[in-house]
Symmetry: C2
Subunit: 314 residues, 2 copies
């Protein structure tokens, strides 16, 4: 894991902390993101087997490692200070109003969709239990229909109804479960993916702001032979951080727009599917019941119920 | 409670044990009914306030009491012996095949109706919970419909559907609860009443059989000056027990026939009511859903879903 990483493009090596240290703080707090995120442009250190090109390296590996840890510590310190001063309401922060509004909306939507998913899950479970009871009741009615000639039709009609409703409930349960599963994918995969990107964006934003504030502070101070090189270095750091921040912001912005689009299409489809399933359940139950009532009315002329009472007979 | 009871009609005093002792064994076992039941023809001892006619009584109350306890003990002994010998498969028993078959059928029906009642109760409870979830889901959809202009129609249609279904489920729950309540009355009041009469009939039958077996045994023995009075007494006892048994059997037979009649009428009514409630639920849901789909289709021309994607636009 300690192989050399070649600085590439406008990304200076300073912003990439030693990997083994960075990997320890991947799960940062949502608000105070003091740990700089991994630069997305950099490839992971190659671990492929086979021939490895060993770079010429004139520097002492130990001192190089020390240098990197040192730089990572400085970056972490800067980011923590920036995050804290933002939390305390001091210091300035870069804000992309449009993007942040969209992210807020997405977060809110995600919560609502999550509660819809949970409710649909509960509905499906309750419906499944309901269906079992309907089935048992239908079977009991069917037995009674066989056992009671005088109430054969009445028990039979109810038996058929409950058994049919049970089957139809099962179909509806499957549809609601499909809806739940699709909503789950939307909420916990598609939207979650964008939320993770949003966290990475926030980390990059804090890191950029930390270097920006640094540069601004140096610009306010005197310019002499001692501060000038520092200023130049800060300027260079600032520039590379800004490029990185803007690239990540652009990526996230595209992702959010794609999600907004995708979300509407996915929900449009699944909400209609859900409604269609409910409507189909309603239609099938209604048709069956109508038919059942008609069939029962035909049998209604059969003896038993309309026969005179034993008291009337005697 | 120790007042005199006047013997009336063909019912001799012997068969009426002292009341305070008899009341201790009212809840007898279903199979071995060794304790003679109270003769139904006898009125309860009058406890009305106001002037009481005190009967002329030349006998010593204490010795009278002793005599009654003694007679009751003999009856109890006879009945226990009869019940035991029946249980052990010895001895004869009077059987009314038709009445016993009817009682068996009623017992079986009662068990089945009881399980129908319990299932219907479960169904109503599950439906009530289901309705609550539907309502909550409907409300969540309604909020999302307001919040999401691009999916206003889709969320709205589902919100209306779930809210309507919830209301309709409530109506159905009420109907199922009414069915449960009526079934409960049939099973635990009407049928239970006949079951209690059947137990009283069984007790009277055992008592009658006990005196019948006694008489038969005496008839088999020699006839002399000692046994002849005993035989006469046994003959008298047997006659009065037979009258009582036949009266109780007749009462029960009428009761069972009335119940059979009543049961069919009651069940006929409630089974149709239940089916109608389910059918009405099916019809109302179907009508609403059809109308809802039509209304939604009209709104379908609205922008949002069919608008080109952001990617297609740019």
């Amino acid at each position: 894991m300690m192989e050399e990483e070649e600085p590439r493009g406008g990304v200076t090596e300073e912003e990439t902390p030693p990997r083994e240290v960075n990997s320890n703080c991947n799960h940062t707090d949502d608000d105070v993101t003091s740990c700089p995120a991994e630069a997305p442009g950099l490839p992971a250190t190659s671990q492929k087997p086979g021939p490895v090109v060993v770079q010429g390296n004139t520097q002492n590996p130990a001192s190089e490692k020390l240098k990197r840890v040192c730089k990572w510590s400085i970056t972490t310190y800067k980011c923590t200070r920036q995050a804290l001063s933002e939390k305390l309401g001091r210091g300035s922060r870069t804000v992309d109003l449009d993007l942040e509004r969209r992210l807020e909306l997405l977060k809110d939507d995600r919560q609502r969709y999550d509660s819809v998913t949970k409710l649909a899950k509960t509905l499906a479970n309750q419906l499944a239990q309901f269906s079992v009871t309907q089935k048992t009741l239908g079977d009991t009615f069917a037995e009674l229909s066989l056992k009671t000639p005088t109430l054969h039709v009445e028990f039979g009609v109810n038996a058929d109804t409950q058994r049919f409703l049970s089957k139809s409930s099962d179909t509806l349960t499957a549809s609601v479960n499909a809806f739940t599963s699709d909503m789950n994918t939307l909420v916990n995969k598609t939207m979650e993916d964008t939320m993770i990107s949003a966290k990475q964006y926030e980390a990059a934003r804090i890191e950029y702001d930390a270097y920006r504030v640094d540069l601004e502070e140096l610009n306010l101070g005197p310019r002499d032979a001692v501060t000038l090189p520092k200023l130049e270095l800060a300027q260079r750091d600032f520039q590379s951080q800004r490029d990185r921040y803007q690239r990540i912001r652009e990526d996230l912005s595209v992702k959010v727009k794609l999600l907004e689009d995708n979300k509407v299409k996915v929900l449009h489809k699944h909400l209609w599917l859900l409604h269609s399933a409910v409507a189909a359940h309603g239609l099938s139950c209604h048709s069956f019941l109508q038919q059942n009532v008609r069939r029962a009315a035909e049998h209604q002329d059969s003896p038993g119920v309309d026969a005179p009472s034993w008291l009337e007979e005697s």
